[in-house]
């Protein structure tokens, strides 16, 4: 059977472009389909690309990739309506190569990644939506597109079509695709003079800051984020879709409240909104992942729910790139076998299982349950803030209470039982040990 391409990769995001890059490098005829007018034009993220995967695949990335800032300051904040406690981690070494994390505009970064795939020999086709799979006897043999006569036959489809994951669902790989694992991210990009931005966040040169917030979304389970680009800030919140649907609040209203918080307002003051955007995030972790492939198809990136939302760790682009690379490596192994590329899924599942992508997700499979639990979301921020406030409030002539007594008092004032606190602490330790 002749095919148009050996492999069709759907979606030129981090997973798809890296897959196409590595497939093209292996001499495999690859088409990279993108529904947007250019790669990255549909993509929104929450702030930091962890680039270790790029060191091996594109060693020149530090000089060539369109990066905004290098994160040297990582802050985690717990907030109530009027208080906040932050753990502010600053590491000067992160500002020097190899860099721990970088910020970028996805329109630029994803386009650069796709360019690398094209330079390696992949065929990029933009402005083309994959509308479905072509299957024969349970095996995927191509994709349909919305171009006239635009159906493409191939031996392998790499589905990197994003969080809505239409192709993996059509292939029957999701036993239960569910909104319960989804969060809605809304984000504002705010213009701020570069010098003012750097002095406001205590940064020099290309240093950048990334702040994650918990407790800033009211009764809605979720979190907030704020990170720096060269001359813009990005501020947003991530809201559990079920909770948002059940609340009477609009997403931009939740974000406006977050921006008005006394600890956040000074950081965003005097800025001008230059772009508002929204995107879904699959935050179900390991247990929400689909079967990773079947004959003729493998799934990677958001389409396979490969984002880690484990409280202190919020990552996705790195997992997507690693999964794309693994899909290509699996294809190379399969190609040498009698069954050919159609057998890629078996190698992909095995290789990915041995990689940090699945190891992280498997180890932290219970993290979403803990991070999204009522205690961590709605009780803990207030407790931590109250304890910190009491501890640092000088109540002369009253003598200073000990820490244990301060904590007991704060728990009593908020009606928190020792049992509930211990249960949450134990669950947290179990997940992150």
């Amino acid at each position: 059977m002749t095919t148009d391409f050996e492999v069709v990769v759907v979606g030129a995001g981090p997973a798809g472009s890296i897959a196409a890059l590595q497939l093209a490098r292996a001499g495999i005829a690859t088409c990279l389909l993108e529904r947007g007018p250019f790669p990255g034009s549909k993509n929104v993220y929450g702030g930091v690309i962890y680039p270790r995967v790029l060191d091996g695949l594109l060693p020149a990335w530090r000089d060539e990739a369109p990066i905004q800032r290098v994160v040297t300051r990582r802050s985690t904040m717990l907030l109530t309506e009027t208080q906040s406690v932050a753990v502010d981690v600053r590491v000067a070494a992160w500002g020097a190569p190899p860099y721990n994390g970088v910020t970028a505009y996805r329109s630029e970064f994803d386009q650069w990644l796709a360019d690398q795939a094209v330079q390696a020999g992949a065929t990029l086709v933009t402005s083309t939506t994959a509308t479905g799979l072509r299957q024969e006897a349970g095996r995927v043999v191509g994709v349909s597109t919305d171009r006239p006569d635009g159906d493409l036959s191939c031996s392998l489809v790499v589905a990197c079509d994003g969080v809505n994951s239409f192709l993996a669902r059509e292939a029957g790989l999701y036993a239960r695709f569910s909104r319960h694992h989804m969060t809605l991210g809304v984000k504002e990009v705010l213009a701020l003079d570069r010098r003012e931005l750097e002095s406001r966040f205590n940064l020099t040169g290309r240093e950048g800051c990334d702040i994650e917030m918990l407790g800033a979304t009211g009764e809605i389970t979720g979190g907030g984020f704020l990170y720096t680009n060269l001359d813009t800030l990005a501020v947003g919140c991530v809201l559990k879709l079920d909770d948002l649907a059940a609340s009477a609040r609009r997403p931009e209203e939740v974000l406006a409240a977050l921006k008005a918080h006394p600890s956040i307002a000074p950081l965003v003051a005097g800025t001008e909104l230059v772009e508002y955007a929204a995107h879904l995030i699959p935050e179900g972790g390991y247990d929400a992942m689909p079967t990773l492939g079947k004959p003729g198809i493998v799934v990677a990136g958001d389409a396979a729910s490969m984002t880690l939302a484990a409280g202190v760790w919020l990552e996705g682009v790195n997992y997507a790139m690693a999964a794309g690379s693994t899909a290509a490596a699996a294809a190379v192994l399969a190609q040498a076998e009698p069954g050919g590329l159609a057998g890629t899924h078996r190698h992909y599942t095995r290789l990915l299982g041995a990689s940090f992508v699945q190891q992280d997700h498997k180890r932290l499979r219970r993290a979403p349950r803990v991070v999204f639990s009522d205690f961590v979301q709605h009780v803990q921020p207030g407790l931590v803030c109250d304890v910190a406030e009491s501890f640092f409030t000088v109540a002369n002539p009253e003598a200073k209470p000990g820490l244990v007594r301060t904590i007991r008092r704060a728990m009593r004032a908020r009606g928190i039982s020792t049992r509930a606190a211990l249960r949450s602490a134990i669950a947290t330790v179990r997940v992150f040990r």
């Binding site: 947007g36 993509n43 969080v163 609040r249 909104l273 230059v274 772009e275």
Partner: protein, 100 residues
């Protein structure tokens, strides 16, 4: 002014004007108005970040597709099976995120 306007001193229309759309000729969202009339939650009205769904006094839902971020929240929260049919817009059309 609806309660949705004027958060943060910013009119919702001004907020949406910061996003870029190359609008397709065909709607990629189709809503079955009959199904909506029996819906008690109308969650799409609340969650859509572009506020594309408006509840009518008749109990139905009015929608437009032009300024859609293509997130998929509406069809996922829809509790009336099949009331919202949602697909990606025609290739090259729809939202263009410049600083995602």
């Amino acid at each position: 002014m609806t309660p949705l306007d004027d958060f943060d001193g910013l009119d919702f229309e001004d907020r949406m004007a910061t996003a870029t759309f190359d609008v397709a000729g065909d709607a990629h969202i189709v809503v079955d108005g009959d199904a909506c009339e029996g819906c008690t939650t109308k969650a799409c009205v609340t969650v859509c970040p572009a506020s594309l769904f408006v509840e009518l006094s008749s109990g139905g839902v009015l929608f437009n597709y032009e300024q859609c971020f293509e997130c998929g929240s509406c069809y996922l929260v829809c509790n009336e099976a099949g009331a919202i049919t949602w697909r990606y817009p025609e290739g090259g059309k729809g939202v263009i995120v410049r600083r995602g």
